[in-house]
């Protein structure tokens, strides 16, 4: 690093004066002892050098020359050792900025006066104080200079005054008025500045009132300018940070700066005050090649009373967040290189957006506005920022890479948060003592049953999910890959549906939710997907725990409820079968039921509590139904089940309230899912995710055996365990057990009855409805444990105790099943997937793009297929597809033609299937007979269809796998292509398939992006999206006439060769999508606002009721 030399005009400490004093660095010029004493030398202050005038009426302090010398001051020719030392020491001017100082001012000035450093002058800049502080300063240090400014300019602007008023000083020591320096602080810092050839040196800051607590030992920032100290709140000073080291910056609470460097930097940037003037100065110093050091041996007590001493937090209202952000962004814009700004600014802005959203949710909208306002302030002052940037970059002698070495990685805000939340307590007290206490507590808790069980749950979930967490989640069923964050947002906001061959329909809200989650995870969509899939287990378990916690005074029943819920095979089968929707339902259904319980628990006149419960139901139903549309009926199913339980369990009013809340919540959820939800009305069953499935018997439903998991007697053990409360519970607990059982029975019947009535009827994924059965059963099991612990002890030994043993054995069986399934590491999910196997399709995407038509049993296709004649089909683009191909839109006319083509080939009515598919751009036909290449559910395709596909004259077998065949369409047309003008393209024909059968025109793919292609035409532009008059094409700005190509896709007459822009106009749909999202946030905010009232519902009966007379408050409320 090329560091400017210190001022050659100032001297070094005289050799021999201080054994510990540093020697000059080899590259330093040899210091000459000064001819005259440094302290208060007239050349330090060029404007009316003054001594402190204790007269409060004095406007400006008197010049040093005019000061009355002390009587005992020696003559020049009688210099004592101190004076010799002072003469050899480099001159330091301490610049203390004050403004309406508190009572600590005297201490601060006195600490400067007491410095053992011999060549120190004190200049106090009074920043427009209402009351002249000069007398107070004079009391503490009669030799101090005081300069009063007319108004409060802020620290930075005031400090810059020294550039005009101080001369001859080698160092400037800037400090606040609320610090107390140890007597050796200045000396240590000056010595370190010489020893390390540093431009800026800072001390260790400790708490003003308790010196054992650390505040700062040098500072850093993250890449987005947020300061980070690395010191945990309340951290004790045990000399653990006492090494001298380079830091990114030091606080200007006390900051020693080489005077020449300060002048070169043109002082502080006043526009970065408050909070970032020190960051800015040090950053610029670094760019100029100077070192920034912290010398921890120099101790300074700091009171932190000034404005800029505060760091902003979301709850710290004392900080002007807008000014703070403005300063931070200004520093970023000034100091980073242009290339770095390209990524730093967007990411920093994005992080602030998230923070602003959190502030809004936390009911601090003004602070959110302030946070974002800081950005716009800089935009408004872009010219000034630019000038400052030019000036800063002119200083640059080092690269950003060197500067970034001292920055912290990741988010400093997050680190601070973690430091506050995770470590503060340990630092506040004797660490070893607390550790011993904690260890003792852990040992004690580990010996308790519920902790053992909870540990078992966690360990089993971790073991069972390890491949999903650490490897990847295969793309099986509807667990498809999530595309990039932008693609998710685009799919949600797009006016044109992506799935199948497109449709004029609103985007499913699930993509908005996926995008929000991915955004919260900094755009990592893979991580978001993994979180959803692997997180369903723990979230569902936690939800079940929370559900049962208010219903029993002890923890154990709630833990057992969670255990009984998570050991149910239903979730393992949902994962194993690749059923995304039921998995989401499993995770959130306990919270939904919990909300409905609270709704019933709320007092009849407690409207806010009921409103909160209703909003909870609405939000949860929105999320679950977005993932799995049949879940729109979840809340109502629960309400109906409670109603049906009234003859058994009583609680008519409770159940009515629950039903009413369920209905209201469902209705609101329907609105929150609009306009997508309105598309569901009258749609075909496939649009709801219902397809023809192999019907399952009621025995399968009762044992939750919808997949590989749950075979044998294990699931029956859950039923046995669930019967315990019906045997031993009494009173309200028995009533709740009855309701839980009624919910289970209703869910079982709902899952089974449709297939019994019509075996060919489309059915939802069975795990979906069985989630409610599993939940009710788990609750019953938990209530059984509660009854066992609270009530059974009142009975003599008898059949009830035997029933409890049977229940325990029953619960042990599914635990063993879970344990066995956990060994595989992915809950029965395949290790591979078709997407990986067919990745070659998308490795070399031909010009114009293509589609893949997937055919097979609808239960094994990757995505949400539509069904024709019992055969499932779906269409993906440019390869095996991703999650965007799920949630199939309602059928369009074009898709009906596609279905008809499939039906035709199945019926043997065509040998030119490839011709029929050509208008849709289908290049490959993938016929699969298994959910994944090597494992997963097997389901043979209709043999007739399989045979006929093999007999098509225009299909070629492209790839044969053990459970799949890929045909390539010899007649395919690129999705975006142009047919020459002399070729007839069937337009607006009556029978689309008839038109395509006879001839497929020769075409040429259109290159370039959809919005601005490379020159194409003239001829007929074929656009393989479903025919819709909303599609528009402009060729070099001229609108081309649209028609239905082949009767089911789009054709545009391109008169002249030119760049083509294809757009879809769906009116206000995008605006509606934005409104939909706003509605989510509004409801979420309302829910958040009403949450505090939730605590008003006494859900902890442990404090108020004896076990014998215990009544869950929900029952009491009824």
């Amino acid at each position: 690093m090329d560091t400017p030399d210190p001022d050659p005009g100032t001297g070094l400490l005289a050799p021999g004066q201080d054994p510990g004093a540093p020697q000059a660095e080899p590259d330093q010029p040899e210091a000459e002892p000064r001819d005259e004493p440094i302290p208060a030398a007239p050349d330090h202050v060029d404007r009316e050098p003054a001594v402190t005038d204790p007269d409060p009426d004095a406007a400006v302090v008197a010049d040093t020359d005019t000061a009355e010398p002390d009587d005992d001051e020696p003559d020049d020719d009688e210099l004592d050792d101190d004076e010799i030392e002072a003469a050899a020491a480099p001159a330091v001017v301490a610049v203390m900025v004050t403004s309406d100082p508190g009572p600590w001012l005297e201490d601060a000035v006195a600490s400067l006066a007491e410095q053992e450093y011999p060549a120190l002058s004190v200049l106090v800049l009074d920043n427009g104080s209402t009351e002249d502080p000069t007398p107070r300063i004079a009391t503490a240090e009669p030799h101090a200079f005081v300069r009063r400014l007319e108004s409060n300019l802020g620290f930075a602007a005031a400090a810059n005054d020294v550039m005009a008023t101080v001369e001859g000083a080698t160092f400037l020591l800037f400090c606040h008025d609320d610090v107390v320096l140890a007597p050796d602080a200045v000396r240590i810092m000056v010595e370190e500045a010489y020893r390390s050839n540093a431009g800026v040196v800072g001390p260790k800051l400790v708490d003003y009132d308790d010196e054992s607590k650390l505040l700062e030992v040098g500072m850093s920032i993250d890449h987005y300018g947020v300061p980070f100290s690395g010191i945990e709140p309340g951290e004790l000073d045990q000399e653990q940070h006492d090494a001298v080291r380079d830091v990114f910056y030091v606080s200007n609470a006390v900051m020693l700066v080489r005077t020449d460097l300060f002048h070169e930097l043109e002082g502080f940037d006043a526009a970065t005050f408050p909070g970032f003037d020190d960051v800015d100065l040090c950053w610029r110093a670094r760019l100029a090649g100077a070192r920034i050091l912290v010398a921890p041996e120099a101790r300074v007590r700091h009171r932190r009373t000034t404005l800029q001493d505060h760091r902003p937090t979301r709850r710290d209202e004392t900080v002007d967040l807008e000014a703070w952000t403005r300063g931070r962004v200004r520093v970023l814009m000034k100091s980073y290189s242009g290339l770095a700004l390209v990524w730093v600014l967007p990411v920093a802005f994005f992080l602030n957006l998230i923070e602003a959203a959190a502030l809004v949710i936390g009911r601090r909208p003004r602070r959110a506005a302030g946070l974002l306002g800081g950005w716009f302030d800089n935009i408004r002052q872009l010219g000034d920022v630019h000038r400052a940037r030019v000036s800063t970059q002119r200083l640059r002698r080092v690269d950003d890479g060197d500067v970034r070495d001292l920055m912290v990685r990741g988010s400093a805000r997050l680190r601070m948060f973690l430091a506050h939340r995770l470590h503060a307590g340990d630092r506040l007290a004797d660490v070893s003592h607390r550790t011993r206490d904690a260890a003792a507590r852990v040992r004690t808790r580990l010996r308790t049953g519920h902790v053992v069980l909870a540990t078992v749950i966690v360990v089993l979930i971790l073991i069972g999910s390890r491949a999903l967490i650490f490897d990847r989640v295969p793309q099986v069923g509807t667990l498809n890959d999530w595309p990039s964050l932008g693609a998710l947002w685009s799919t949600f906001l797009s006016s044109w549906r992506y799935a199948m061959i497109g449709a004029d329909a609103p985007g499913p809200p699930i993509f908005g939710l996926m995008a929000l989650l991915s955004t919260a995870l900094l755009g990592d969509t893979d991580l978001a997907r993994t979180v959803v899939v692997a997180g369903a287990f723990p979230l569902g378990a936690w939800g079940a725990y929370r559900l049962a916690r208010p219903l029993a005074p002890a923890v154990l029943p709630a833990v057992v409820t969670a255990l009984a819920y998570v050991v149910n095979p239903v979730v393992r089968n949902a994962v194993g079968e690749g059923h995304f929707g039921p998995l989401v339902a499993f995770a959130l259904a306990p919270f939904l039921l919990s909300a409905l319980l609270r709704a019933g628990a709320a007092a009849p006149d407690d409207r806010r509590a009921r409103r909160h419960a209703m909003l909870s139901v609405a939000l949860l139903t929105t999320i679950i139904a977005a993932a799995w549309p049949p879940a729109l009926l979840f809340a109502l199913t629960i309400g109906v089940a409670f109603q049906l339980a009234v003859p058994v369990a009583g609680g008519l009013h409770l159940s009515l309230r629950t039903l009413a809340i369920a209905a209201a919540g469902t209705a609101l959820a329907f609105v929150l899912l609009a306009p997508w939800s309105f598309d569901l009305l009258g749609a075909r069953a496939e649009t709801f995710g219902l397809v023809t499935r192999e019907p399952q018997g009621l025995v399968d439903m009762l044992s939750f055996q919808t997949g590989r998991a749950g075979s044998g007697a294990a699931p029956w053990g859950l039923i046995v365990a669930g019967l315990l409360p019906l045997a031993v519970a009494t009173g309200p607990r028995l009533a709740w057990a009855s309701r839980a059982w009624m919910l289970t029975i209703v869910a079982w019947i709902a899952a089974w009855l449709p297939s019994r009535l019509d075996s060919s009827a489309p059915l939802p994924a069975p795990e979906g409805m069985l989630v409610l059965a599993a939940l009710g059963l788990a609750l019953a099991v938990g209530l059984g444990v509660a009854a066992f612990t609270d009530e059974l002890r009142t009975f003599h030994f008898g059949w009830r105790q035997l029933a409890a043993v049977a229940a325990a054995v029953g619960l042990a069986l599914p635990i063993m099943g879970l344990t066995a399934d956990a060994l595989q590491g992915r809950w029965g999910l395949s290790g591979d997937d078709w997407a990986s196997r067919f990745e070659w399709m998308s490795e070399d995407i031909p010009d114009g793009g293509f589609r893949v038509l997937w055919l097979g049993d609808p239960t094994i296709l990757p995505g949400d297929p539509h069904v024709v004649g019992g055969t499932g089909y779906l269409v993906t683009r440019d390869g095996p597809g991703d999650v965007r191909d799920g949630w199939a839109p309602p059928r369009t006319k074009a898709e009906r033609e596609l279905a008809r083509a499939i039906e035709m080939v199945r019926a043997g009515r065509t040998v030119r299937f490839g011709h029929l598919l050509a208008p849709a751009g289908v290049r490959y036909v993938a016929v699969v007979e298994r959910a994944a290449p090597e494992s997963g559910r097997k389901a043979a395709i209709d043999p007739r269809l399989e045979a006929e596909l093999g007999a098509q004259v225009d299909l070629t077998v492209s790839r044969v796998e053990s459970s799949a065949v890929i045909y390539e369409n010899e007649s395919w047309i690129p999705r975006r292509a142009v047919a020459p003008p002399d070729v007839d393209v069937p337009i607006d024909v009556d029978d689309p398939l008839e038109a395509a059968t006879r001839d497929v025109p020769p075409t040429e793919a259109v290159l370039g992006p959809q919005s601005e292609s490379e020159p194409a035409g003239p001829g007929t532009l074929l656009w393989s999206e479903a025919a819709d008059s909303g599609w528009q094409a402009t060729v070099d700005g001229t609108t081309a006439t649209r028609a239905d190509a082949f009767g089911w896709t789009n054709a545009f007459a391109v008169e002249e060769r030119g760049s083509v822009d294809l757009t879809f106009d769906a009116g206000l749909r995008r605006v509606i999508a934005y409104l939909e999202m706003v509605a989510w946030f509004v409801v979420a905010a309302l829910w958040w606002r009403s949450r505090s009232r939730e605590e008003d519902v006494d859900l902890d009966p442990d404090e108020s009721r004896e076990a014998e007379t215990y009544e869950p408050p929900v029952e009491v409320a009824s």
């Binding site: 009173g731 035709m904 019926a907 299909l955 077998v957 006879r998």
Partner: protein, 478 residues
Amino acid sequence: MTARRLPIPLLLLALILVAFVAGDPDTERMARASDPREAVAVPPVGTTSSGWFCPGPPPSLPIEQEVLALTNVSETDETVVVTVYPDGGEASVSRDVDVAALSVTRLARVDLGPTGPVTVEAFSRDVVVESGFESVERVALNPCASTAAKEWHLAAGTTVRGTEQYLMVFNPLGTDAKVDVTIRTGERVIEPEDLQSLDVPRRTRVAIEVHKYAIRSERVAIDLESTIGDVVVEQSIVFNAESGFQGVSRSMGVLAPAAGWTFADGNTLAGTSTIVALSNPGPVDVEVDVYANVGIDVPVTPVTAVVPRGGVTWVALGRCPDPVPEGCLAIPPESDYALQVESDPNAPIVAEVLTLYKDTAVGSGAATVMGTADPADRWIVTRSVVPDARVVLALANPAIRPVTVDVDVIADGSIEQPDELAGITIEPGQRAGVEITNLVGPDATLVVRASAPIVVERSVYAAGDLSRSPAIPARGGP
């Protein structure tokens, strides 16, 4: 209200009882039908494009006598695409051919292009295609296959002295096929190494000289299975003078064995030698009953033959010595008959008839005809135009109720119904034979409409050869 303890357990108990008693769904309706395709059939109603695949005669036979008969039974003109795939690997030759409404268009194969298989693509179900020899000394006219498939079976083959048996394997599709050929004689099963994983490149054909693998074997059945791709298989047997007979027989294979086969036409004229070949490709021995229906008043004792697994058994039809040996169905001499072959439904077989005529009253020659496993109520058959040949339409009713049959004659753009071909009643299990030589013109097509499913065959008796083939089933038609 105090919660009641018993209702829920009782409800649960009831549910469990229901689960075990009536909880299983009706899965019968979910059972999927097996592949019902046939090698030759008129495409179903609503067809927009159909393909007819004609493997053609073996290369050793000249194509000069080969014809392609395109029949349009609809009242609108049709255009078809005829494509020849030359054996030499040259580029395919395609041409559009107009087929007038209600007419037959005969194309000389030699005019279409070099030697090689032919594909005819039509754009409706109303065009059917036949190909073969139509000359006095060589008659072998068969419908082309209307589909390609992975599995083919033939039962009646022979490689005795003076005969050459060929298997023409045509791959009309875009995917290279790989096939395994199994040749079964009465004694052994032959799986020639060079006929395993045999490549049949896309849109080419391969001629297999079966007589070089099954040398001098009296009974030769063939099974072909494709591991990749679909093919069309046709068998040709050439009888040289050395064999004591003459003529050529050609027959398209069938796609799957079946438990019942019906043959509509057969006779026991002096000089004939007819057998039904029973091939059992399955893993268990099968007992097969062979019935002949000569007339209501002429009972014929059926024969039960045991066909060993993987074996092929011949049952002689008529002209049995006295006493009647095993394996000979004693059909009275000079009788016309229909044949019924039935096996255990769980052990399907393949049945094919081989007929050799030598100096009979109707001439000499050879013919093979595959049985029909699936009767239909509508059939299409093209009149042969061999000079001086007798053409007989044979109708068999395998059902247990009488059937009334009407035959429309389509020719020269019109539909007629001669009195002799109207209202033909066939008793259960019986047959009817109508010589149509003089009833219809040479370029005529017959559409047979029956009140219930029947089996229809057409026999052509020329002086130097004979041909017998099933008509083309046209299910679902008006």
